[in-house]
Symmetry: C3
Subunit: 343 residues, 3 copies
Amino acid sequence: MKTNPGRFFEDYRLGETIRHAVPRTVSGGERALYHALYPARHALYSSDAFAQGCGLPASPLEDLAAFHVVFGKTVPDISLNAVANLGYAEGRWLLPVYPGDTLRSESTVIGLKENSNGKSGVVYVRTRGLNQRDDVVMDYVRWVMVRKNKLDAPAPEAVVPALKPALGAEDLVIPAGLDFTGYDFALAGEPHRWADYAVGEKIDHVDGVTIEDAEHMIATRLWQNTAKVHFDATFREDGKRLIYGGHVISMARALSFNGLANAQMIVALNGGAHANPCFAGDTVKCWSEVLDRAETPAPGVGALRLRLVAVKQGAKPFALKGEDGKYLPDVLLDLDYWALIPK
Amino acid sequence: MKTNPGRFFEDYRLGETIRHAVPRTVSGGERALYHALYPARHALYSSDAFAQGCGLPASPLEDLAAFHVVFGKTVPDISLNAVANLGYAEGRWLLPVYPGDTLRSESTVIGLKENSNGKSGVVYVRTRGLNQRDDVVMDYVRWVMVRKNKLDAPAPEAVVPALKPALGAEDLVIPAGLDFTGYDFALAGEPHRWADYAVGEKIDHVDGVTIEDAEHMIATRLWQNTAKVHFDATFREDGKRLIYGGHVISMARALSFNGLANAQMIVALNGGAHANPCFAGDTVKCWSEVLDRAETPAPGVGALRLRLVAVKQGAKPFALKGEDGKYLPDVLLDLDYWALIPK
Amino acid sequence: MKTNPGRFFEDYRLGETIRHAVPRTVSGGERALYHALYPARHALYSSDAFAQGCGLPASPLEDLAAFHVVFGKTVPDISLNAVANLGYAEGRWLLPVYPGDTLRSESTVIGLKENSNGKSGVVYVRTRGLNQRDDVVMDYVRWVMVRKNKLDAPAPEAVVPALKPALGAEDLVIPAGLDFTGYDFALAGEPHRWADYAVGEKIDHVDGVTIEDAEHMIATRLWQNTAKVHFDATFREDGKRLIYGGHVISMARALSFNGLANAQMIVALNGGAHANPCFAGDTVKCWSEVLDRAETPAPGVGALRLRLVAVKQGAKPFALKGEDGKYLPDVLLDLDYWALIPK
């Protein structure tokens, strides 16, 4: 058998590290495509001159683009036989990625727990993205439910890693040289600074984008994420292509510019849930809630912990969960992240 | 309120200059996307070697791509509450834009006239695109009808700028070094030179492209033009996404290659009307009319003033307006521009 | 008449060389778009670091992207009035193409044979792609059936070139410096090496992609192939846009990664048939058959001759032709090529 059958639950060993295939060199092409696929307008990722004014050598690749590249490489080894994508935690962006950098990924199995039905189990991995100098550019924990192939394979000792519900300000890694003391608010697009956001404040980002199959496939392929369900209309019984959850993340983050234009850099991913599937024809909108605020040691740089909620057409303003504690059916994404913003 | 409500008619002051947000560094990525989105084949914008043979340091970004970038930045400040895009005038391309350049825009209010209904008014702006050295790479005048928010706001003194109906040959700025004396007509794709075009001549450009929602959204986002009406299918009552007028301009210009392959560089925009809206599923074709011819001081370089008319399926050849003087319903665009062509 | 009417059968002369128009400089933009349009994952074309580990200076443009650029330029001169694309032979990739290279094409007429009906004829051309140093980067023979315009034009002397049914190992040109002795199979994605493939072995590549009009148009325009039938929904009576055959080639080649991840470089095209037309909505899958194996003089580098068959939804596994010897209706492509793979 020459094709990749993917790994099943019984194929993972606690502590093993999987080197994922197909490293990728990024260029201005990936940058331009990111701007073509999402209404991304954060100035630091749009203009070399603006980024240099913030102390960086040039405009980096969007943080979420770097995430998608790193994540995409893990799919053939981690989620080909996954039944569900259960969660993210402790995600950190450690180094900006620039055109010319080559990214690869590796994942260490940090937890395993077979389900009581004996047919599947939960695999926890800590994934690292590395550049051509073997510097770690980001890492995050992800856990997925994976089918067993051999149902009689013995259950491994259950190990569930202790994960932080959210990273704290002390966990955030600020890019070297970042300095917002000369920040140009007019060029960035909004006057609101760190002190203008209050914990508990909610922002309706107003704009919406109706999703096309061609667009989410172009985006998902760009990250070399080739899970069948995103591309093959004959795969699901309903003939629909399930949209890669990361496409919704990037769409919502880009739409959040309107109200959070100065929340420039994403530095941590505390958690995230793909609450409901998204399909072509859905119109994605989003809202944010300020969850926390923190100082950072970098000049002029503050941090906001934000909840970013993507919804589809017909959603009620700021509605997240029903009385049963479950996500409402028109909620697509509930993401918890830290961003850097000028003080 | 954190999101941008846009400006209303009473928010503009004669003489004020608005610095538009989100500067953008362009690369080979934007170039490749332009060629992927439009059937663009003008050799000077396709090949560094060809451009160097014409005296330029490299192949510039398509003139219309530069226009779209500059224009896109003005949308949040100028046309978010616009009821209608009324016209363009005195547009000039002053410097070629190359990969690596960073563009930003600013607009000066040069005219204001409240409508007699007291509910809206016309705003005239002169917009400049600037590069990272603060050189002006293009400027143009645009006027739009904008809603009033406070209907009791006093009407400003009416000022309507005097605008040239068309720029003259003396107004055209020829890129430094441009020299068509060694022009390679075979590589450019057609033998027709300046002297082969007669004033009054009309050319049916034959080819057509059927427009997809995914394509115009990708294009429009690439220029960071985020007007809702182009992206959100829930915005209009008919569920259609209105196609950015600039998408039709670029599509028509690219299709005009077949018959005007040597009309390489656009140097002036005399005027333009988006005669009727364009929607996904429309098939865009176009025709041109030679309006004027002029010499230029650059070696081997002549200029043609051209009318470029985009139409949709079913249009009669070369038909523009009805007996009532109004554009026929299948006319999408009527553009008046100057292009440089070898003599 | 300013527009290009294309050439008719009587316009070709044996031995003449046609310089095709519109040279093209490629960049990281074309590379990124190729990865966005096809699920391309061969590591040598994805990562500079991986390519350098194989002895190349950087990651080249995908071989098929170079082919599409070279091919696209020939369309206005060779196939604008073509009734049928009859075949390919003796295709060779002679030099890798890197970002920054400028490609142009020229074709020599090497055969002419009027059909007995006197209304059309077959034109054989050998096409060369050249870079900015006038090095030939690839060449191939293609033959097409072209309509006559003047039915009374005399038939030329029939000349049918002798073409090899397949290139032999001795015809293959290995890129200078290529060395697979330090090949990283983990990063490449599969452990299978040259010796693991047996002549006659067939591989079902499992994955599928459903095709969208927006995607094949973006791809086809990227190669500046502007044949009406791919873009204009009003051109065919059924309102469908015929998908450029090269789009199916690239889609199938990319899908063949799953099972042939190490068949890194395409070095020869022995032949190919576009067995049936492909339209938006079709789901493309593919399978391969190992036709031959050969040694090469380069360190660690073997060659596989492969049949790549693209099919659409509903095709039976490995079924190619019916009892009548004709391709089955759900077969889209039958391609015969040589690829380099580590030993």
